[in-house]
Symmetry: C2
Subunit: 436 residues, 2 copies
C-alpha cells in the first residue's frame, strides 16, 4: 500500500511536538495504523530549534502544503481563525483530510467546516482541540456511543487550574499567580482567553455538541472567568468542604441545554475536585454507563501531539482497511440528526450558590439576610461567620451556601442584600455543583 | 442501506442490560452509527424478567444465533471458556463479527481467536472485557496510538476495591466485608476469581498486550489477591500517607515486561488512590502524552452494555462507510509486529515494600532488623513503632517502608527476620507503587 502522506502546517510548540513524537515512534505508529504514515511536507514560516527538520521537505508558504497533490492529510497547527480558516477551507476543497488542534476554529466555524468536509467526503478531526492529550472526543463520540449523555463537567483550561491550585495550596492571590503563569509560559501575554473563560467556552461548546447531538452554538455559552476569585473564597470553600475549580458545565434539561463556564465549588471528595495544576479532566454522566472521568495533560507540545497523531492514525487505519479515511461523523451523529436545542438562559439555571459578604457586626443583620433569601425562595444550608479579627474592625465576613434556586432569584436577593446599610461592598457569588 | 443485524447470546445481567440500553436509545445509536442497528435474534436458555423480549426472535439454543445467515454481529455474553469459546469460534467460522465481554476467554484464548478472525476478515471486539463501561481498550488502541506506553496501573476488579474501601472507611475485616459483598451480589458465591486476583489478571494481560505490542501471555502474570490484608495494614498505610489498592501493574523494563497483580500501597495524593467502592480506574503513562487516567463503573448490566454497544457501533460505522466492519487490529498492531517480550520474573521486580511485623518489645530488636535489611541492600525510609497497648503485652507492631530493592532481596530479608526469636509469626509484606 502506498503511504499516507501528511502535510504539517505550523511548527510551534505543538507542531514540533508532533514532528518529534511521530518521528520517534514511527515504527510503532505504522504498525498500529497498518500502513506507513510519513510527513511529506512541512509548511512553516520559520524553523523551530526544538525539532530537526533538516531532512524534511519544508516550505515557507503553508498553502504550498494544502495545494500539494501528494498530500492526503493536512495537519493545521497555526492557530487563530483567519489564516487557519482559509487553510482548512482550501485543504477540504482540495479533497484532503484535515487534523487540527484549533478549538477556536472548530467552536466558531465548525458547522460550516464540517458541512464542507461532508460534501467533499473528507474528514476533519479535532481530538487535540479539547483537553490536549486526553482522548475525550473519541470517548464521547465512540466509547460512550450507547448512552444518552445527561451532563458533563470539565476542567478544560490548564492555566486557570494552575492559578486556582496555587491560590489553594499557597494562599496566593490571583494577580500574583497569573504573573508567574505568564513567566512560566503557561499563560499568554494577553491572558484573557484563559482567565476569562473564552478558551474553556470554545472547548465546552464542542463537548456539548458531541454529547447532545446539536450544531455548535458558541455564541450561546455563558462565560465567566476566575479573575474575581479571592484567596479568602478559596479558604472558606475549603472550610465548607469544597474546592474551587473553573468548570465548563453542559447539562440536559427539560427546557433545553445548559451551557456555562464559570468558577464552581465542588465537594472535596469528588475525584475531579482533586485534579490540580495544569492538568485537565472531564466528567461525563451517561444514562447507561453512569459517571466516567478522563484525566490528563490539557496542553503542551507532545501531549497535544499525541491527540493529533491519534487522529492521523484513525484516518490511516480506515485507508488501510480499504476505506476512505472515515470513521465517526464529525459531531458523532449523521448531520440530519443534529438539532439546535434551545440553550437555557443563565437566569433560569438552578444551582446552589456560595455567597460571601462583609457585614456590620451588629444584631439583626443575619436576620435581614435570611429574610431576603427566604423572600426569593432560598434557604441557608451552611454558614461560616467569623469573629472580628481585631477590636477596631466593625465588619465581619459571612460565607454561606444556599439551597438550589434559580439564578434570577439569587440575583434578586443579591441586589437586596447589597442595598442593606449593614453590608459593605458587593456580595461575592460562586455557583456550586455537587457532581454526584 | 440494510440494517446491521445483531444476535445476542446470553440474557443475564449484561445481556439484559444490552437489550434494554440498545432498545431505549436506539434512535440516537442509529444516528451515531449512520446505519440502523437491530437485535435480530436472541439466544438464551431462559427469559430474564429484567427485560421485555416478548417481541424478540428468541431461541433457546444459542447456536441458532451463530448459524443464522442473517446475523452480522454475534454478541457473546454467556461467559466462561467452554461453550462461549465454541460459540465464538463457530461465529468466526461463519464469517460473523463478534463482540464479547468475556475477559477469561480473551485472556486465555485470545491469540487463537484473533488469528482465526483475521483469517476470516472479521472483527472480535472486547471493550467490555476490561473495566466495564470505561473505554480503556479504545484509549490504548486508538486514543494513545502515538505513544510508547511506559507503564500502566489499574484498579480493575470492583469487588476487591469495594472490600478494601469498606476496610478503610469502617475498619472492618476482610471476611466480614466479603460476606456483605456476596449478599449484595458484587461477589460470586465462589469469590476466588475476584479476591485472589484472577479476574484482575485476565484484564491486566489484555491491557498489557495492547500497551506493549505482545501476544496475550496470561500464564505469565504474577497474581496475588487481597485475602491476607488486615485492617491494621490499612490503618498503618493511612498513617504513612498511603492507601491500599489491589492493582494490576504492567511496566516496560529493560529486560522485558513486568506483569503483576497484587495489593499495593499508593500515595494518598494520587487520584487513583481515591477511587473507591466498586469503581474501576486505569492510569496509563505514555512517552508523549504523560499520565492519563480513566475512571468509571467496572461492572454491572448497563455500564458493561455501554461498552458492548460501543463496539457494535464501531463495526456498524465501518459498514456505513462502505467498509467491512474493521477498525484497529485486535491487539492494536498488525500481528507481525507483536513480539513475545520476556516477562520479568517477580523475584527480579524492584519495588518499595511495606513490612509489618510483631516484635518482642526489647532493646536491640530494631537494630537486628535494620542489619538484616541492610545486608540485602535495603534501608528503612519510614517507620511506625507503637507502644505496647497494655502492660501485659510483650510484643509490639512495627510497620516500615523500605527503599526500592528487588523482590528476591526482600524475600531473603523476610526469611531472616522471621527466623529471629524476637519476631512472632510471619512478616506481612505489601508492595508500594508511587505512580508518579
Amino acid at each position: 500500500m502506498k503511504p499516507v502522506k501528511v502535510g504539517l502546517c505550523g511548527l510551534g510548540t505543538v507542531g514540533s511536538g508532533t514532528f518529534n513524537l511521530l518521528t520517534r515512534n514511527v515504527s510503532d505508529i505504522n504498525a498500529r495504523a497498518g500502513i506507513e504514515i510519513e510527513i511529506s511536507q512541512i509548511g512553516a514560516r520559520r524553523d523551530n530549534p526544538d525539532c530537526d527538520t533538516s531532512a524534511a521537505n519544508l516550505s515557507r508558504d503553508i498553502f504550498d502544503v494544502v495545494n500539494n497533490p501528494e498530500i492526503d492529510v493536512v495537519v493545521e497547527l497555526i492557530g487563530g481563525t483567519t489564516v487557519a480558516k482559509d487553510l482548512v477551507v482550501q485543504a477540504i476543497a482540495n479533497g484532503k483530510h484535515v487534523v487540527t488542534a484549533n478549538k477556536a476554529l472548530i467552536a466558531e466555524f465548525g458547522n460550516d467546516i464540517f458541512a464542507a468536509a461532508a460534501d467533499k467526503g473528507v474528514v476533519v478531526a479535532y481530538e487535540a482541540a479539547v483537553a490536549g492529550g486526553i482522548p475525550i472526543i473519541k470517548a464521547l463520540r465512540e466509547g460512550l456511543a450507547a448512552n444518552r449523555i445527561e451532563w458533563l463537567a470539565g476542567i478544560i483550561n490548564g492555566t486557570g487550574n494552575f492559578i486556582l491550585t496555587e491560590m489553594k495550596d499557597k494562599g496566593r492571590d490571583f494577580a500574583d499567580v497569573l504573573k508567574e503563569a505568564q513567566d512560566l509560559g503557561y499563560a499568554e501575554a494577553d491572558p484573557t482567553f484563559d482567565v476569562e473563560g473564552i478558551d474553556a467556552a470554545h472547548k465546552l461548546v464542542i463537548l456539548a455538541s458531541l454529547a447532545f447531538a446539536m450544531p455548535l452554538q458558541y455564541d450561546k455559552v455563558f462565560c465567566e472567568g476566575i479573575s474575581a476569585i479571592q484567596p479568602i473564597d478559596v479558604q472558606y470553600a475549603d472550610e465548607l468542604g469544597y474546592r474551587i475549580k473553573h468548570l465548563g458545565v453542559a447539562r440536559r434539561h427539560q427546557d433545553g441545554i445548559e451551557l456555562r463556564v464559570h468558577p464552581t465549588l465542588i465537594p472535596q471528595k469528588r475525584l475531579i475536585a482533586n485534579v490540580d495544576g495544569v492538568m485537565n479532566s472531564v466528567l461525563v454522566q451517561g444514562d447507561g454507563v453512569g459517571p466516567t472521568l478522563y484525566y490528563g495533560a490539557g496542553a503542551g507540545g507532545e501531549p497535544t501531539a499525541s491527540a493529533i497523531i491519534a487522529d492521523v492514525v484513525d484516518i490511516a487505519r480506515s485507508i488501510a482497511n480499504g476505506g476512505k479515511g472515515q470513521g465517526a461523523q464529525a459531531l458523532g451523529y449523521i448531520p440530519e440528526h443534529l438539532v439546535n436545542h434551545p440553550i437555557v438562559p443563565i437566569e433560569e439555571v438552578e444551582t446552589t450558590s456560595y455567597l460571601r459578604m462583609s457585614a456590620l457586626d451588629q444584631a439583626g443583620v443575619m436576620n435581614k439576610i435570611t429574610q431576603i433569601l427566604s423572600s426569593v425562595g432560598a434557604s441557608i444550608e451552611a454558614l461560616i461567620q467569623k469573629e472580628p479579627q481585631s477590636s477596631g474592625q466593625d465588619h465581619v465576613d459571612i460565607a454561606l451556601l444556599t439551597n438550589r434556586v434559580k439564578e434570577k432569584q439569587i440575583n434578586q436577593a443579591l441586589l437586596e442584600i447589597e442595598a442593606l446599610e449593614a453590608i459593605s461592598g458587593k456580595v461575592s457569588r460562586i455557583r456550586v455543583e455537587s457532581l454526584g
